[in-house]
Amino acid sequence: MQYKKRIFIDTVAKHTFKLTGYLVLALLGGIFGMLLYNAISFFAEVRPIDFLTDREWNPTANEPIYGILPLIISTSLVSFGAMLIAIPLGIGTAAFISEYASPRLKNILKPLVEMLAAIPSVVIGFLGIVLVGPQIAEFANLPNGLNALNGSILLAIMALPTIITISEDAIHSIPKTYREASYALGASKWQTLLKVTIPAAAPGIIAAVMLGLGRAIGETMTVLMATGNASLFPSDFFDSVKTITATIAIEMGEVPYQTTHYFALFAIAIVLFFMTLIANLIGEYFINRFRKYHAA
């Protein structure tokens, strides 16, 4: 009898686990389904070609215009700038931590990087307003610092921990034999790092960069607070820009449910979804390649 009870519990547990497993999947799948459903509703009302080619995003005009181009350009500009800053700093730091730092220094630096990762994005955005913005304004002699450059700097800070940790892992896992081979040929430590270790770790580093980029593209609060949100076509880093994430954050609250504008926000969200997904998939592809390569 006792045994039957135990077996019963076991079976119930098994099915419960299975059920939660599927439920979680359904929910997570639902996110995509919901995005897709609402986005399709949007394209029932606005031609996809207009969506992709119109040069203006102005949903509240008398003749609403839903052109995602300026938003994509803005998002790309800010993220590109962020990568310009974060890639050299990130890889340099990763190389320093893995190749040069003494074990003790490593034990200090790694937690520092994790601390940087832990800082909430709204705090970084806040500093963009009170600290980085005014500095940029003063430096570049601009009226204000709420522009793409500000966003790029802040996003670089947010992407750095990702880039550093994953690159460091990649560089660290390059077998010692590569380095020794290079040293044995008379290469210096620096030459070895630059010409052997980093190229060998390249897939891992590319993965790090792509995952960092995904993070930057999808970041909301920092850009919302620090980039000025002007929905025109940006021409350089000193222009105010309005990214996809910021557009959603600003406009979502004000739209009546189930209107074209509401659906439009889901449509740009799905574009955002795919942008980050592609970055992450490329990142994952390279991580797997790296693992496979070095497992062999």
Binding site: N229, L232, I250, E254, V255, P256, Y257
Partner: protein, 259 residues
């Protein structure tokens, strides 16, 4: 009782002050207040996410339609009067501006200051996001579309922040934002408005002129309440309209017009 109040950024601080005072007497009321712009408030009513919508503009035709479509009946309360102020940096030589010039500045036809005044800088517009009542109020009053290069600030305060350090900036905010704490707003200058070249220029801070309904950009501040929420919000509305509430409204830099 829980009350959700959403909408106009122009009114949000006033609403906070009122709610704070109100709950001293009525501790069983839980009031949640959010800004985000008049449009957000009205939309929230439509979406069923608010009991009171603060709005610095009347409902549009379209919105009335939407409410009718959803069979939501609204009560409209005008509880204060606001004047929209146009502000520039304190070093801007400009003191007053006429409507025609203002329109050209805001719609982007006028790109530099030196055509208006002896300031050799481009014009930098600090506007609001599209859900803002002030945004649509100014747009309607001037009959323009805002320049695409106007920044969309999410609140009045951010506009003032921007103007304070931007010698080339111009922006618009509710009077309450300037009058309530004059001390903190030293970096800015409030422009007087002339309806045309010949008429008198009037400041939005001129109480008498507002009472006489002479300022071009003055407007009532609304609160919309769906009928089904009326019972629970009535004590609060009554508090606003009573003398204590009125005092607070005026202390916050807005005006109370006698009807």
């Amino acid at each position: 009782h829980t009350i959700k109040m959403k909408g106009s950024d122009t009114e949000v601080n006033l609403a906070v002050n009122l709610a704070e005072e109100f709950s001293k007497e009525n501790s069983d009321f839980s009031i949640a207040i959010s800004g985000g712009g008049s449009g957000l408030g009205i939309t929230s009513l439509l979406n069923g996410q608010a009991d009171i919508a603060n709005s610095s503009r009347p409902l549009t035709e379209e919105e009335i339609h939407l409410f009718e479509g959803k069979n939501i009946k609204l009560k409209t309360i005008v509880f204060a009067e606001d004047a929209t102020a146009f502000v520039v940096h304190k070093d801007n030589p400009l003191d007053e501006i006429d409507l025609k010039t203002l329109a050209k500045v805001l719609d982007g036809n006028q790109k530099t200051w030196n055509e208006i005044t002896e300031l050799n800088l481009p014009i930098n517009i600090y506007g609001r996001q599209s859900s803002s009542g002030t945004y649509s109020f100014v747009r309607k009053k001037l009959g323009i579309a805002f320049s695409q290069s106007a920044k969309e600030m999410t609140g009045n305060a951010q506009i003032l922040e921007g103007i304070k350090i931007d010698k080339s900036g111009i922006g618009y905010v509710g009077a309450g934002y300037i009058a309530a704490n004059a001390g903190a707003n030293q970096g800015i200058k409030v422009l007087k408005i002339k309806e045309n070249n010949t008429s008198e220029s009037i400041s939005p801070l001129d109480q008498q002129a507002i009472r006489d309904n002479k300022y071009f950009f003055q407007r009532p501040l609304f609160q919309f309440v769906p009928e089904k929420s009326w019972a629970k919000v009535e004590p609060f509305i009554n508090f606003e309209m009573a003398s204590e509430g009125r005092k607070l409204i005026e202390a916050s830099g807005y005006y109370v017009l006698d009807k």
